[in-house]
């Protein structure tokens, strides 16, 4: 089967274009981050990968050292990591962060 397959490693310039090949019908299926699949036009999420090969990436935010507005930047990071933001994230297919 391997010779018959063509691995395409191109990435979309914008999140919605990551799955353009699938949307156009040029690509049969594509593995990617669920939160990008659900916002891409012309594609369906067939489902999450099964547990054995699933891999969840933990996303985090940081303040850039050269920031001229570190307090406001900190406020934004607090806002997007707040419990109310967690509800929005969950509703859009993100996995909750384990806060200890």
């Amino acid at each position: 089967l391997k010779p018959k397959l063509n691995l395409d490693r191109s990435e979309g310039d914008v999140p919605e274009n990551v799955f353009l090949g699938v949307a156009k019908g040029e690509i049969e299926m594509q593995i990617g981050q669920i939160t990008e699949i659900v916002i891409s036009p012309g594609v369906d999420l067939a489902g999450p990968l099964p547990g054995e090969i699933q891999n969840t990436t933990l996303m985090a935010a940081g303040i850039i050292t050269t920031s001229k507005a570190p307090d406001a930047a900190k406020a934004l990071v607090s806002f997007i990591s707040s419990p109310s933001a967690a509800a929005v994230l969950k509703a859009r297919g993100f996995q909750p962060v384990d806060k200890n």
């Binding site: 690509i27 990617g32 981050q33």
Partner: protein, 177 residues
């Protein structure tokens, strides 16, 4: 008598007016204060966060009075921009990528905050017959040595329908089918 009553009414009206003016002045002062302190924040984020940030950022702007602009890109490209000192205030990528930026001095020590986890899924053409994803795990070949990344696509085989026989997994992409 008539005169006294009218005076009382006038006084009550004046009092109400004073309170209203004071309230207005307070609101104006708060607005002015807010505007004076309002910051403009530039965010660089992995595109995988767009589904949520497209709502959360406008919410933040409303509640804080600050202006937040955001640019999305592949996480690797975002890391490269921060590494090259692209002027911005907040960077959102994977925790491991952030830790590298932190140790390189590009991100403030101790400023890392976890946002959410993102799991992998299989995208198919809209309305397409769903492939049997469970077949993957049964035939999985375990971890592999070659690096990969998400967004890897498997093009249609020439004759046979796409059917995953053997797969190895390196954490972000499926290799060797």
């Amino acid at each position: 008598m008539w005169h006294a009553q009218n005076l009382e009414r006038l006084e009550a009206l004046m009092n109400a007016l004073r309170i209203a003016i004071a309230a207005l002045a307070l609101t104006a002062a708060m607005r002015t204060g807010g505007t004076a302190d309002a910051a403009e924040i530039r965010v660089l984020s992995s595109g995988s966060l767009k589904a949520a940030l497209s709502q959360l950022l406008p919410d933040f702007q409303k509640s804080s009075g600050d202006t937040a602009t955001i640019e999305y890109g592949p996480a690797g490209a975002i890391v490269g921009r921060v590494q090259n000192d692209d002027a911005a205030d907040v960077v959102i990528v994977s925790r491991s990528q952030l830790q590298k930026l932190e140790s390189n001095g590009k991100v403030v020590q101790g400023s890392l905050v976890d946002i959410a986890g993102i799991a992998l899924g299989l995208a198919v053409h809209k309305g397409a017959r769903r492939n049997r994803i469970s077949a993957m795990s049964r035939r999985s070949n375990g971890p592999c040595s070659r690096p990969g990344r998400s967004g890897t696509a498997i093009r249609r085989p020439v004759q046979r329908p796409a059917f995953i026989q053997r797969a190895c997994w390196n954490g972000s992409a499926l290799h060797r089918i």
